[in-house]
Symmetry: C2
Subunit: 324 residues, 2 copies
């Protein structure tokens, strides 16, 4: 199939958003931002043999997952996903059907959020690369920044941690006799960005959110650094799947603290708004758990402290634990 026919075949038959003035089919797309809304934008790239292998992911999952990762960034800003633009480098050995599956995977998750495809580029190359840019809308001054944590806040996290990394581990080790293995594999291939949960917090003037793409160690430190506060986290409170509790301590920590790509949210909020978080969790059927609290920083830079069995340790970005 030539490029023109392919573009025609993926061109949406209609657009969900009335803000679209011009979709695919001109030099660029045009949309009209609703009044009172800020625009949110992020980009994310996946490369074959770096971020994935076709032995652990089908083309369909690639599409699903790269857009899910982008949606997670929009969720972490408190915004409504609206548009996406796609660039794909596709090896000549690929069949049309495989390329179409990538677009189908994206469409599957895009439709869940009524997102419209606004543009893209499909070019040939040696190695599969997919790069997606998303655009979301958020009410003015309701963006959820990493710098918004305050002394006295509670720290919370959605979902369970380490599932995606454990799923990838099962796929690469080909150890397929673990209980609930489909759960883990699915969490790796088709993660759920916490868009609806984050949107339900809209009424709050302030909530700090960060999405967990590189493991909670990394993301908690980003909050501590950006907000200039210390985060105190109780290891025993970290939500994890029962199966992960059966692992050796070292492995468990590897997955739970440093396992990437869960696309859950870590956040902080003032104690008196905790009920709003609980209500948002209930309404969107999301697991949310308090895991610690925020205090004024004790050093020049904000840090993360991890409490476990009566010991207090500094939790570094890389997920390594350095005893004090």
């Amino acid at each position: 199939m030539d490029e023109f026919s392919f573009i025609k075949s993926i061109k949406p038959r209609f657009y969900h958003h009335s803000s679209v003035q011009k979709g695919i089919g001109d030099d660029a797309a045009v949309f009209r931002p609703p009044s009172g809304m800020d625009m949110v934008t992020a980009t994310d790239t996946m490369v074959e043999h770096v971020h994935f292998r076709l032995t652990t992911m089908e083309p369909y999952h690639l599409g699903y997952r790269v857009l899910a990762a982008n949606l997670s960034d929009l969720a972490a800003m408190g915004s409504i996903p609206v548009f996406y633009l796609v660039s794909i480098v596709v090896p000549e050995s690929w069949k049309d059907k495989q390329l179409r599956s990538v677009y189908n995977g994206m469409k599957e998750i895009a439709d869940q959020y009524h997102m419209d495809l606004l543009g893209g580029d499909t070019v040939s190359g040696d190695r599969f690369v997919i790069s997606v840019t998303v655009i979301g809308f958020v009410e003015r001054d309701k963006s959820r920044y990493r710098r918004h944590a305050r002394d006295g806040d509670v720290v919370f996290v959605t979902g369970t941690l380490g599932d995606s990394a454990f799923g990838l581990h099962l796929l690469t080790e080909r150890s397929f006799s673990v209980e609930a293995q489909d759960h883990f594999i699915n969490r790796h291939r088709m993660p759920t960005p916490r868009v609806w949960f984050s949107r339900k917090l809209k009424q709050l003037d302030r909530v700090c959110l960060n999405d967990i793409s590189d493991g909670i160690s990394s993301e908690a430190n980003e909050i501590a650094e950006a907000s200039g506060v210390d985060l105190h986290i109780d290891y025993s409170q970290l939500p994890m799947h029962p199966q992960l509790k059966k692992l050796s301590e070292t492995n468990q920590k590897k997955f739970v603290l440093a396992g990437g790509e869960d696309f859950e949210l870590i956040g902080t909020i003032s104690e008196h708004n905790w009920s709003v978080v609980e209500e948002a969790a209930r309404q969107t059927n999301t697991i949310v758990k308090k895991i610690g609290f925020v205090r004024r920083k004790v050093a020049a830079e904000g840090q993360v402290f991890l409490y476990e069995n009566g010991k207090k340790q500094v939790l570094k970005k890389q997920g390594y634990i350095h005893l004090r």
Copy 2:
């Protein structure tokens, strides 16, 4: 250099646009659209060994050129360039210095238009790939669509045609004794998107614009098709560099009609607004030339007719000329 240090090093020290609420450094960037403006967005990708080779382009040119191509799309919509987001796949054999040159090339042209870098992703891979998404602003209902050509319009084009393709030809053939060769090579490596010219047409209610990225044959046909009209083009009026006039007829036509990546604009406008185009050209120091006119279509689909030495031929998208 690790990814974090690199991101820090390319992070802008300030943003030109006060609409930026949050630049690089959170899960996503946030900006506030000015009232009365529509948003315009496009994406473009360049792959090593497909779109370029490092034997004909320096890393600096790669950055410059991919952003120029995107800016050309924004120019063809009549919009002001404002933001860009970048995804780069960089081979491990590349040096930090080379990667930095790519960003410097982008910054060089971005600064000319006061564009702000809003985000990006740099990942490693086998083959260099760069993908850029741009966002521009345009006054409501002033987007310049391909469907806006009307019976009676004049057809015009900016700059000279075929220069970029001829420049690439000189580089790949290593025939370095052509007069004005630097001009052609420069037009290939660092093309000038016609942003200012297109913005000077702002007062007009209607003008049809399309940027010449695949050769005028292709772009003229896109207008004819989208507007449902015929374009009649006089080959003798097509603007070309004197050096191209010295080529054989076959070669000249290859470059002028089908040579891609000039990033000039082809447009149509009602005859009585022609003086506005001339004034815009004068103010922005842009060559603009009338090359034909628009008439009602004579077949089911709009077509392009090329006149030469008293002969009238159908000009196809691919640049091939089929005798009637």
